[in-house]
């Protein structure tokens, strides 16, 4: 369904896509650091973000906490949950490759159902987080929430890039990932560092989750389609790299926004599908293999 072409609308769609891409990037950072430090994927990653958003919603709407306090507790809950996932579960199965997927899938089901049980199954409106503030500049409608999202994206990406490449902490993290035995022998504690990395991932997805909620609505399941896009960006760009997957995150968001604009909301799923199939056919085999069998 081709709608008529308005430049102002296209510009707004692009800004909105950029904002969404920034949030994807923030969430993706958590996936990247966890994968690069502990070689694991948390399939319940999106739900940890949901806990931050839905949890803070519960705190400010039912328990009547001030919103900033509620948000703070929400983030804390996400951080704790992510760290616990590593501490209680991942540590036990890290020597058995492939199980992390199944067990975190179980965590996804568990968190979704608990959220439904405690908070109901309807989607609820979340805090606006500046989405009620807007201006029209040159005919283009600009929403402050979009600008906030872009700002957060820039800050988080820059901070992560800086830490990973220029600080001792970052270098030790990557060392510990490469060779845990050697790292331990020079005093870098593998397990503690890993749990800390998972904790930071919880922080990142918590922030992203709350921003997503402000743009859509919060429910037990709202993060799933979003986090699927995040994983796809990681898959296309390569989970062992940094800038390519971040770029892929922005690309996917813009791509879907423009396709939806041109072809209607029915265009989103097949467009994503074609993108992934296309990317898989084009990417050379050596960039895809995530199991280095010869090393085992």
């Amino acid at each position: 369904m081709l709608s008529s072409f308005h430049f102002a609308t296209l510009a707004q769609v692009a800004i909105s896509g950029l904002a969404l891409g920034s949030l994807y990037a923030v969430a993706l950072l958590g996936v990247l650091i966890v994968y690069q430090v502990s070689k694991n994927i948390n399939f319940a990653y999106g739900q940890i973000g949901m806990v931050a958003a839905f949890g803070s919603y519960f705190l400010y709407s039912t328990a009547h906490l001030p919103t900033s306090l509620a948000m703070g507790f929400g983030i804390l809950a996400a951080v704790a949950l992510s760290a616990l996932t590593d501490f209680l579960i991942i540590r036990r199965i890290s020597h058995r490759p492939g199980l992390d997927f199944v067990v975190t899938l179980g965590e996804l089901l568990l968190l979704t159902s608990l959220a439904e049980l405690l908070l109901g199954t309807s989607a609820q409106s979340y805090l606006p987080l500046l989405s009620d503030l807007s201006w029209t500049v040159g005919g283009v409608f600009i929403n402050a929430n979009d600008l906030l999202a872009v700002a957060l994206g820039i800050v988080c990406v820059a901070a992560c890039a800086f830490v990973l490449t220029r600080t001792t902490l970052g270098i030790s993290l990557r060392a510990a990932a490469e060779d845990p035995a050697v790292a331990q022998s020079v005093g870098i504690s593998g397990p503690a560092l890993r749990t800390a990395t998972w904790a930071v991932a919880g922080l990142l997805v918590g922030v992203a989750g709350m921003m997503f909620a402000s743009r859509l609505s919060v429910s037990s399941f709202y993060m799933t389609p979003l986090v699927i896009n995040v994983f796809i960006a990681g898959m296309i760009g390569g989970l062992e790299r940094f800038w390519p997957p971040i770029g892929a995150a922005f690309f996917i968001a813009l791509y879907q926004a423009i396709i939806s604009y041109l072809l209607g909301e029915a265009g989103g799923v097949p467009a994503l599908f074609l993108l992934v199939i296309g990317a898989l056919s084009v990417i050379p085999k050596r960039f895809l293999d995530e199991r280095r069998e010869a090393r085992a």
Binding site: F101, L110, F231, I277
Partner: protein, 352 residues
């Protein structure tokens, strides 16, 4: 993907060292003995299947029919995931393909014996199509691509509303062949149990044959498998195709027995349910697939009875976590451990 401790997989051991045989050719009494043993093992399920229609109400017989249908589909996922180690999150889509195929062909008035080869054919093509991009992938990437296929299927159903009824779903007229009607409880039960028995036999035969061993080899180490001359690509594609065919047939039966299809039955949660069934029951075991099917059909009934229908996924989550951490072989392993414990008990007491 090493989801299971295959080295201790009893079926694998059986293949490697069948009981009762020394190195030489089995003698006549031994072969007769092993036939008797096999008949003895098969008898209880056959007796159970035969007596259920006599003791169960219509409603419970319908549930039993559903168990048979879901067992067929679960056996399919066990082939591609439990044995070949390919994590497929599109299994409910193959199930849905068979179901919607039945609904559409019924609407177009096709005879039943023309529908079955078409369902099988479409399922084979679908299985090959899904298998193709996944050949070079594993783990998360494999799961994501199969998940996307699943989303595409739901999208297609939702947006072809004129023919498929969209998200509202489509009624399926009963399958009537002479005196047989797919909505008559006993008829439906008999048909589904027979097909499920055939599927089970097929799965058992396959696991004992070359193909079964090839799949296990692919699951555990593609490098090692290639080094002994196993054609990885062919094995993976065959596994996907078989899984799709099992699920497609199950879906076809489902449509005629339930009388209604709608996309929510065949979405991501549907695929996750099948996964839970395989893992909970015990990956790589035929009995495990049946136990898993019993779980996914009967558990929701339990939750509805206590008034908390939407708690069923919660249990699924707990199950996945606990089973993976504590009992990787699923219920089948749990039951055999229990059996060993009970049979070892008195002996331990003697030695104590």
């Amino acid at each position: 993907m090493n989801a299971v401790k295959h080295a201790r997989d009893p079926e694998f051991q059986e293949m490697a060292a069948p009981e009762g045989l020394s190195g030489s050719e089995a003698s006549e009494p031994d072969r007769a003995g092993s036939i008797v043993r096999r008949a003895w093992r098969v008898l209880p399920p056959v007796l159970l299947a035969a007596t259920l229609p006599l003791i169960l109400s219509d409603y419970n017989l319908y549930l039993a029919t559903q168990v048979a249908i879901y067992a067929i589909a679960t056996l399919g996922l066990d082939i591609v995931f439990g044995r070949a180690g390919q994590l497929s999150l599109s299994h409910a889509s193959f199930f849905g393909l068979g179901a919607y195929g039945a609904a559409l062909m019924a609407a177009w008035g096709w005879v039943w014996w023309a529908q079955i080869p078409l369902v099988i054919g479409v399922a084979m093509v679908a299985g090959a199509i899904v298998a193709f991009p996944t050949l070079r992938l594993s783990g998360l990437r494999l799961a994501l691509v199969t998940l996307l296929f699943g989303e595409l299927f739901i999208w297609a159903i939702d947006h072809a509303g004129g023919a498929t009824g969209g998200s509202q779903g489509l009624a399926v007229p009963p399958l009537q062949v002479g005196w047989f009607s797919s909505v008559a409880p006993i008829d439906a039960y008999a048909l589904c149990v027979l097909v499920a028995a055939a599927a089970t036999l097929l799965a058992v035969q396959m696991s004992r044959a070359q193909f079964g061993r090839r799949m296990l080899a692919v699951r555990d180490s593609e490098l090692a498998a290639t080094s002994v001359g196993i054609h990885i690509v062919r094995t993976k594609i065959q596994a996907f195709i078989l899984a799709a065919v099992f699920a497609g047939i199950a879906g076809w039966l489902y449509a005629y027995v339930a009388g209604f299809v709608s996309p929510q039955t065949f979405d991501l949660f549907g695929s996750v349910n099948f996964l839970v069934a395989v893992i909970l029951g015990g990956a790589g075991r035929v009995a495990g697939s049946w136990l898993g099917a019993v779980y996914i059909v009967l558990m929701p009934e339990v939750f509805t009875a206590i008034g908390y229908t939407n708690l069923f996924p919660l249990l699924g989550g707990v199950v996945l976590i606990l089973v993976t951490l504590l009992l990787p072989g699923g219920l089948v392993e749990g039951l055999s451990r229990l059996r060993r414990l009970l049979s070892l008990g008195p002996r331990h007491a003697l030695h104590a």
